[in-house]
Symmetry: C2
Subunit: 159 residues, 2 copies
DNA sequence: GAATACCCGATTAATATAGTCAAGTATTAC
DNA sequence: GTAATACTTGACTATATTAATCGGGTATTC
C-alpha cells in the first residue's frame, strides 16, 4: 500500500465522478475542468480504473465514465491500488521463495507487509460514499455549485 | 502522511537499531551491513531522525546511534514524518487563506487531509515496540542471529 | 595522534510522477 | 453515411523524488 499524489488524483477524480453522475456518464473533460487535472493524465488513470472494474466507459457523444457499482461498494483502497500498479512494497519482490528461506533478509518484509495490510484494511473500510457524506464536502460542493452555471455539483481539486 | 520507500527504510533502520541496542550505541555501518542500505543514505536519514529527537548520536570509536527514548514511546508515524519532510499533502500548499475562501478548489483538500489524519492517527498507535513484539520478527531475527558470528540480533532489509 | 564514526554538502543516477502529443476506434446524432 | 464526440492507446518528454555516491569535515576514544 502506497500513498502518493497519484492515488490522491484518482480518489479526487472518483469523488468528482461520483458526485456528478446523476445525469448519466461524466466525460473526462468535465472532470479535467473541475479538478484541474490534465485530460491525458486522467485518461491514464481511468484506463487503469476501468481495467480494475471500478468504472464503466461509454463512447460517443454524451459518453463518459460512470461508476460500475454503488459508491458504498467502492473502497478507497481499491481506487488507490488500481492506479498504483506497483503492488509489491518489498525489496525482495514479494518473493515467497528464497526470502523466508536461505538467510535472505526478510524480517522487515514481514513487518512492512503487516503494516501495509493494516493500512489497507483501514482504507478498505472507507467507501466513496463515506467521503461523499462528510459534511464539509457537501458544504463546499454546494457553495461551489451555486457559483457556477451547470446543474451539477462541482468538486474542487487540491486533493 | 505519505507512505514511501524512504519511510520504509527509516522504519527498517530504526527497528534494526532498536533490536540491536543492548550493547550500547549502534553504528550506521552495522545497520548498513545488516540491512543493505547504503551508509551515506543512512546518514541522511539519521540526520533527520536526530534533528527530530528520535535518536541520539555518540561520536568516536564505539560510538553510534541509540534511541532517545523507549521503543514503546516511539510511534511509527513519527519515524515516517521525520524523514518525509514534505508535510503538505495538498496542492494548495495547505494554504489556510485563499483556499476555503474565494472559490479556490479545496473540497478534496479537506477530504484528503481527513484521510491523511486518520492514517496518521492509526500509525500513531503503533510503536516500535509493537513491531518488535511481533512473533515473526522474533523468529526471523533469532534464526538469522544463530547463523552469524556476532551476538547481536540481526534484522534483514527488504522492508 | 591515529583510528573510529558521526556530520554535512554537493553531485549523480535511477525511478516515478505528471504531462504532452498524436493517431487511432467506437458511438451517437443528424 | 458522415461528422462530431469522446474514449483508447502508445510513445514521448520534463520534472521531482529517491537513492546512492563522493569528499571533505569534526568530535571522541584509545
Amino acid at each position: 500500500m502506497k500513498l502518493t499524489t497519484k492515488g490522491r488524483y484518482a480518489v479526487t477524480a472518483m469523488l468528482d465522478l461520483s458526485l456528478n453522475s446523476d445525469n448519466g456518464p461524466v466525460s473526462l473533460l468535465e472532470i479535467s475542468d473541475r479538478q484541474s487535472i490534465s485530460l491525458s493524465y486522467l485518461e491514464q488513470l481511468f484506463s487503469k480504473l476501468r481495467r480494475q472494474g471500478l468504472v464503466k466507459s461509454m463512447r460517443g457523444p454524451g459518453g463518459g465514465y460512470s461508476l460500475s457499482r454503488a459508491p458504498e461498494e467502492i473502497a478507497i483502497s481499491s481506487i488507490i491500488m488500481a492506479v498504483d500498479e506497483n503492488l509489491d512494497v518489498t525489496n525482495c519482490g514479494n518473493a515467497t521463495s528464497g526470502c523466508n528461506e536461505d538467510n535472505k533478509r526478510c524480517l522487515t518484509h514481514n513487518l512492512w507487509m503487516d503494516l501495509s495490510n493494516r493500512i489497507q484494511s483501514f482504507l478498505d473500510d472507507i467507501s466513496l460514499q463515506d467521503m461523499m457524506d462528510k459534511s464539509d464536502v457537501i458544504e463546499v460542493a454546494a457553495r461551489q455549485n451555486s457559483k457556477q452555471k451547470g446543474t451539477r455539483i462541482n468538486l474542487p481539486d487540491s486533493l
